[in-house]
Symmetry: C2
Amino acid sequence: MSAMRAMPECIVCAYRQALNTTRIVTDDEATQLGVLSRVAQSLQNASLDQTPAALSQPVYAIVSEVTGVPDPYVQAKAETNRQAMALLPKLEALVRSSDDPLHAALRLAVAGNIIDLGIGHAFDLERDVAALMLQPFAVDDYPAFRAALRPGCRILYLGDNAGEIVFDRVLVELLVEAGAEVIFTVKSGPIINDATMEDARFCGLTNLVHVICTGSNDIGVNWAHVSDEFLRHYKNADLIIGKGHGNFETCTGQPGRFFFLLKAKCPVVADKLGVPLGATALRHENNL
Amino acid sequence: MSAMRAMPECIVCAYRQALNTTRIVTDDEATQLGVLSRVAQSLQNASLDQTPAALSQPVYAIVSEVTGVPDPYVQAKAETNRQAMALLPKLEALVRSSDDPLHAALRLAVAGNIIDLGIGHAFDLERDVAALMLQPFAVDDYPAFRAALRPGCRILYLGDNAGEIVFDRVLVELLVEAGAEVIFTVKSGPIINDATMEDARFCGLTNLVHVICTGSNDIGVNWAHVSDEFLRHYKNADLIIGKGHGNFETCTGQPGRFFFLLKAKCPVVADKLGVPLGATALRHENNL
């Protein structure tokens, strides 16, 4: 698999992301316009020879700079963490009573990937997660995953969003019980609603496994700015679980044995995965 | 009613329109990127103190300049004209056999407003138009329209898209039969898939009523560039029917007695009309 390239619609999407994020912190039209103008300057000479994640990355720095708000999603992150934690006992019981708890946990983890920018009510989260858990993976490399999961195997688990990591936690617990040694990653600082160390602590991940930072607050993994600790665990990993768009976009084509676990939320990622828009996937990519 | 102002999302939408239109004429990514870059230069200092139509207008000139294609929608226009003409006998019969043919013709005319940028198959057009004709107007100022329609009254009918004008034709026929003197307007040159004189001729409008050009190939009515002929008929009109987004965006708040007939296809126009997204409206606006 080759590295992922951005498509022209990623540029249009970047403007949309800029406006959506600005609106979270202010209703002021002049500020919104100011952000879009700065984004236009920044993207005017944008190259498609980069990942969609890298293309949209500067947008978030611009929003923070223009609005003076370093972490626009801080409240949304806390809220989704709380909502997901309230659902945890019920979802954990659902997974553990399944015929195949590991596969159920994988489906729950991908269902948690619906927690992206839009924040709904607890009830909606509950309903949507339950519905998505029933949806079969469009790509389901479960047999390969199952085979790779051996006692003592070292798993680098690339986490995605706040709230979503509560659902990952159920899967992580099963992986630990299966004898795997799991390292869970969060971002080094705020970017969109991605989970940081604070979120991992709130959601109980830090009590369960070793949680490390990627080395930067970039979307997915910015290979030019990973920490030594991240690099060491990446090189030692027998398998790497990559959650969500950002990790897929930045890790596909990289050396390693990856299992990407995500919902295809846009046509560009759906196309690269080879699945319909809105489909979920557990995709094995062995680049060893 | 005040004149319509653009919203920040109109800027995002302009980039989307630019990419969609470029894709109609070329798959070449470098060209698509080149268009988006030129749009970024153009919109970098865009003001919201203009209509959405005026804001997106330069996008189409950029697409034509960069791609070298003056009329990207030329084939789509011909195709929708043909499809709509094939449906005409059936739709005309449907209208004339209704309890209230005039109201049915108004609903048919607004149903024709679904012919925008996306071109479907004849069957889809038939099905969608039939479905939309059954949908009640969210704003229905039919009593006022009925009262205004007197023998000898002068109606300026601001046409919208190619294909759509075939559906307008059924309404125009009923207006003429009711004794009105109808002047129908088309654009002076190609802009998006808006009807031009060639389309009016193909669809039989020119045999039915006097068809004139607005004076420019601007979206809706560009009041700074209307022809003398347009201005004369505008000033003489007892009532003005404005079809679609562009005419609503550029005419709301202008002097005159307007009946806007459209489907609200975006949140900005839906908000200004005070109707839900996707709703249809026959809205009376008397600015005399």
